[in-house]
């Protein structure tokens, strides 16, 4: 009996310790990013990293006062928001169509929509680069908006379709009988009911557009440059300015972190209900 109890306590201790280690491991890089951004540049290069240091906002001043950087932030914001909006609107419409209507070839269509998620971006960049070059859309925000919208559509359609299909049809049928047009049913009845899903997919879409690197790298240069590319560019230009790069990185990461933590509950449902059916 006593052995059992010791074993159980030991197990509890080890388990808790393991979780602690896991949390530290997950958080350490984030902590390091922030702390590096708060060091003076010279300290960042010190041979021995100091755990205690004089915190300074110099890096942040440097970064924010650089107008190129602020343009980048603006670009990222605009592109992500617009792409998300369009993806949600177009995607929800299509999701509704897939969920409520049976027509010939709709299984094939669903398959195709879903398979788009699997495409490696690198394989698609080339044709896009050439065509955008031809229509002079290189280095424009519009180009990235188009690409990001198209990239997120499959996920939006897929997730929204699950949610819409789960709604009882009676509500819509009642609305039809009352004389509502299809559009009204969609906007006034269905969409409000799936709002959490809209939120979740909206956040995922926004996050994707905000984080995206490859297309932004290739399709933009200076005018439409987005944050991830800008941050990576701190490497080549003047050696590596780690302090400033980390400041820029923190700024880039913050919105996503805050929004995600805040919407954590909804996100779980959005992420998992699109993939799990229990």
């Amino acid at each position: 009996m006593k052995w059992r109890k010791t074993a159980r306590t030991l197990e509890a201790v080890i388990g808790r310790f393991a979780l602690l280690v896991a949390v530290c491991w997950s958080l350490f890089p984030v902590y390091w990013m922030i702390s590096t951004s708060l060091r003076e540049s010279s300290a960042a290069f010190a041979a021995t990293p100091q755990l205690i240091f004089k915190a300074t906002l110099a890096n942040y001043y440097e970064v924010i006062s650089d107008t190129g950087f602020m343009t980048t932030v603006f670009n990222s914001l605009v592109i992500a928001l617009v792409a998300t909006l369009i993806a949600l609107v177009v995607g929800s419409m299509a999701a509704y169509g897939f969920a409520r209507f049976r027509f010939k070839g709709d299984a094939q269509l669903s398959f195709w929509v879903l398979s788009n998620r699997m495409f490696p971006p690198i394989a698609i960049v080339l044709p896009f680069f050439i065509i955008f070059k031809a229509v002079e859309l290189l280095d424009t925000r519009l180009a990235l908006i188009i690409v990001y919208t198209a990239f997120n559509l499959p996920m939006v359609v897929w997730v929204m379709r699950s949610f819409i299909a789960d709604l009882p049809k009676e509500v819509e049928e009642a609305a039809f009988i009352d004389g509502c047009s299809q559009l009204q049913v969609l906007t006034k009845i269905v969409l409000p009911l799936v709002r959490p899903a809209l939120f979740a997919t909206g956040i995922l879409t926004f996050t994707f557009a905000w984080n995206e690197f490859l297309f932004a790298l290739i399709l933009t240069n200076v005018r439409a440059q987005t944050l991830p590319v800008k941050i990576a560019s701190f490497v080549s230009e003047r050696g590596v300015l780690w302090g400033e790069m980390m400041a820029a990185a923190t700024i880039a990461v913050l919105p996503i972190l805050v929004v995600t933590l805040w919407m954590n509950r909804h996100l779980t449902r959005g992420l998992t209900l699109g993939t799990l059916r229990e």
């Binding site: 949390v23 169509g97 209507f101 788009n116 495409f119 044709p127 050439i130 789960d166 991830p228 996503i256």
Partner: protein
């Protein structure tokens, strides 16, 4: 006064779906066709005077014999398989631990989710800093323990480091899904098992594990697909190097197309990647769709699982 109902329905459905399908058509059909078109030609973007002649399958045969490409495939295989299995193992272990201790569980889960929310490029850069032999905390910490810190991004360990960064960032995904799946197991099953006198191991094997098969499959598919596409982190951490030690086909494609500007050849790589992805994904997608259909038809309403 209106068209017959079924016709009206078809029109509505069409209008609803057309924009999405149109956009996606541009995204998927066009690149596929154009890649194929390019892949059968020689085309150097920076040397337009070089004859853009049709070379048929010349690029493809060159690809199959290309040692760089073959090495890239090997790198990708190692990267994807290692990263995904380790992620899932750790994610499952942590999920099991989390489930057993309710206190503060939510906070712990949220904290561990943080890496997933980082911009991948930033994650790569931060890890590059951490693993820096001169001013990175990793080697300093090892030094404190009396161990000589290795060159993390050197020839021997670069791939390992990159895999490590990937695991760090995406383990939370497995954790999240496994946590949800574990939470959805009805408590009665555990109680019944206890009543029947099952040991802890037996309970795990026969009650818990079967319920994890489907989520595990989902994680596997998504993460493998993502690892397959992975570019950002590797690019920013090692640029494919040193040499070509961490150069995946995606990176090779990039270099061929946008550094060498050998567009025809790069397009053939793109095309191969696309086709491979389609072929591998097709059966999985089909199965996922069928499952979706079954569940919808059964008229189940999904309640909150978390």
């Amino acid at each position: 006064m209106h068209a017959p109902k079924f016709l009206r329905e078809r029109n509505t459905a069409f209008i609803l779906i057309a924009p999405a399908v149109g956009l996606l058509g541009i995204l998927s059909v066009y690149p596929l066709l154009y890649s194929l078109f390019l892949a059968t030609r020689r085309y150097f973007l920076t040397k337009p005077w070089v004859d853009r002649s049709f070379v048929g399958l010349g690029n493809f045969s060159r690809l199959l014999a290309d040692p760089y490409f073959l090495k890239a495939v090997a790198v990708l295989a190692k990267f994807a398989l290692s990263a995904v299995t380790i992620e899932m193992a750790i994610g499952l272990a942590l999920a099991l631990l989390l489930v057993r201790w309710a206190k503060g569980r939510h906070l712990v889960k949220v904290l561990m989710l943080l890496p997933m929310m980082m911009v991948p490029v930033v994650a790569g850069l931060v890890w590059r800093l951490i693993l820096n032999p001169n001013y990175g905390p990793a080697n300093w910490f090892l030094g404190q323990l009396g161990v000589s810190g290795p060159v993390w991004l050197g020839p021997r360990l670069a791939l390992t480091s990159v895999i490590g960064a990937e695991v760090w960032q995406w383990m939370p995904f497995s954790l999240l899904i496994f946590t949800v799946a574990l939470g959805s197991v009805p408590k009665e099953l555990y109680e019944e098992a206890a009543v029947d006198g099952a040991s802890r191991l037996q309970t795990f094997l026969y009650v818990t594990l079967p319920r994890l098969r489907q989520p595990a499959a989902v994680i596997l598919v998504f993460r493998l697909a993502d690892a397959f596409k992975s570019f950002d982190k590797i690019f920013v951490m090692t640029g494919g190097g040193p040499g070509i030690n961490t150069q995946t086909p995606a990176l090779y494609n990039y270099y061929k197309g946008f550094v060498d500007f050998d567009m025809g050849y790069a397009a053939s790589i793109s095309f191969v990647l696309l086709i491979t992805m389609l072929v591998m994904a097709a059966p999985l997608i089909r199965r996922a769709l069928r499952k979706e259909e079954e569940t919808i038809k059964a008229g189940e309403v999904v309640r909150e699982v978390a």
